[in-house]
């Protein structure tokens, strides 16, 4: 035992003393059942340390101040007592958070910017407001994405155990997750060809509306601009963003799996519209039938549907075949 003799001890500190303010700052966030006990112990500890500094020649005020300073930031000490996390996102979840944020920023921001720009363009906006709109949109979407993704991962960090966190990141890391080295990237030619193709399809969609090719009628029903054509344009932007990403990382099982998203986003609405025979503009069909009475829009829709399904299946199977 080492009971300290304290004949020179200063009187007990008052309710407004540095010690009391410090003890209050530390204990106010502790669970109620620990609060008083920790407070009592801290008071004794600060006083003991102050006594020892006092014996070494410090004044009472200096000694109390130094004793409290040594214990440091009260929020940090309280977190140590609670044993709670002192980081927003710990090492277990950080890689998943960084990956998720990177992918979302690389894919979603360009898509939204393209869609907003196309819509503005159709509204007849001038170049200045187009650029302004694109920049504002990119910043706004980027900040929103970063905020919500970070919030979700910070909450996960506080609720998941380490094993659960690992599971949430797609199981423990395995060598199969390694991307190929950069030198085995797809060729720039392939990338350029894919991008040009998607730009062509998107351009054709917009062009056939702006310069109606069939006797002054657009080929695709203009009513679809209210929802379905923007969806197709978003899907095309997604395909383009995906192509760039795939070119940077090379084919892996994950690339092939992710390939499903933009491909399906494009093929599914198109197939649905063809199946329900809503794709072609009725006025255009009538105009075509004047020169070609046997033209059957049902057959045309069926051809689109078949091509759509075949290309979709081929694209998906090819992705997995290349990844394997």
């Amino acid at each position: 035992m080492n009971p300290r003799a304290t004949p020179t001890a200063p009187p007990a500190p008052g309710p407004d003393s540095l010690t009391e303010r410090y003890v209050h700052a530390v204990t106010r966030r502790l669970p109620e059942d620990q609060r008083d006990d920790v407070a009592r112990e801290l008071r004794a500890t600060v006083a003991d340390r102050a006594d020892s500094l006092h014996d070494a020649g410090a004044t009472d005020d200096e000694a109390e101040r130094a004793a409290v300073t040594e214990l440091g930031d009260p929020d940090r000490l309280a977190a140590d007592y609670r044993g709670s996390a002192q980081q927003l996102i710990g090492p277990a979840l950080y890689p998943a958070w960084a990956r998720m944020l990177r992918i979302l920023l690389l894919v979603v921001v360009p898509i939204v910017v393209v869609v907003v720009t196309v819509v503005d363009l159709l509204d007849g906006a001038d170049a200045g407001s187009l650029i302004g709109g694109a920049v504002t949109t990119a910043l706004g979407v980027g900040v929103q994405l970063a905020f919500w993704v970070t919030l979700v991962y910070a909450l996960l960090d506080r609720t998941l155990s380490r094993a659960e966190a690992e599971q949430a990141c797609g199981g423990p890391w395995s060598p199969d997750d390694l991307p190929p080295v950069r030198t085995s990237r797809g060729s720039v030619g392939d990338l350029a060809a894919s991008l040009a193709f998607y730009a062509l399809v998107a351009g054709a969609l917009v062009w056939q509306q702006l310069r109606p090719p069939v006797d002054g009628h657009p080929l695709i029903d203009p009513a679809l601009w209210s929802f379905w054509i923007p969806v197709l344009l978003v899907a095309l932007a997604g395909e383009a963003a995906y192509e760039v990403w795939k070119w940077r990382t090379g084919w892996t099982r994950r690339t092939a799996l992710l390939n499903l998203v933009p491909t399906t986003l494009f093929a599914l609405p198109l197939a649905y519209l063809a199946w329900s025979e809503r794709l072609l503009d009725p006025d255009a069909v009538a105009a075509i039938q004047q020169g070609w009475p046997d033209f059957d829009p049902g057959v045309a829709h069926l051809v689109v549907l078949a091509v759509c399904v075949v290309v979709w299946v081929w694209d998906v199977v090819d992705g997995f075949r290349r990844a394997a």
């Binding site: 035992m1 080492n2 304290t6 009592r40 112990e41 801290l42 004794a44 500890t45 003991d48 940090r76």
Partner: protein, 103 residues
């Protein structure tokens, strides 16, 4: 640079040293001073929460001593802490043997 590495090496030994000292009931600040005298530098804001954690893990027991003018919380090693100390010391000796073989 040496100081940083020495500190890193000693960090994990604070628990061993504290369990050793706490065979005698001791309160927080006295433990801090004894550790310091024995060459184990540890900050109060590390040691005091650590004592609470060890108590929660039932490696330590505690008791308030209110006989003196300043009430203090005395910690002492519980049977589980005694067993842990024995195991840690054994590990320590085996580490020492392994390190000696490397020299």
């Amino acid at each position: 640079m040496l100081a940083a590495h020495v500190q890193e090496l000693r960090r994990g030994t604070v628990v061993v040293a504290a369990l050793g000292i706490l065979r005698e009931p001791t309160y927080g600040y006295a433990l801090l001073e004894q550790l310091e005298q024995a060459g184990f530098r540890v900050d109060g804001n590390t040691l005091y929460p650590l004592l609470r954690r060890l108590e929660k893990q039932q490696l330590l027991t505690s008791e308030w001593n209110t006989e003196e003018s300043r009430p203090r919380k005395f910690y002492r090693v519980a049977p589980a802490g005694e067993a842990l100390l024995t195991a840690l010391l054994e590990e320590w000796r085996s580490l020492d043997t392994s390190i000696e073989k490397l020299r």
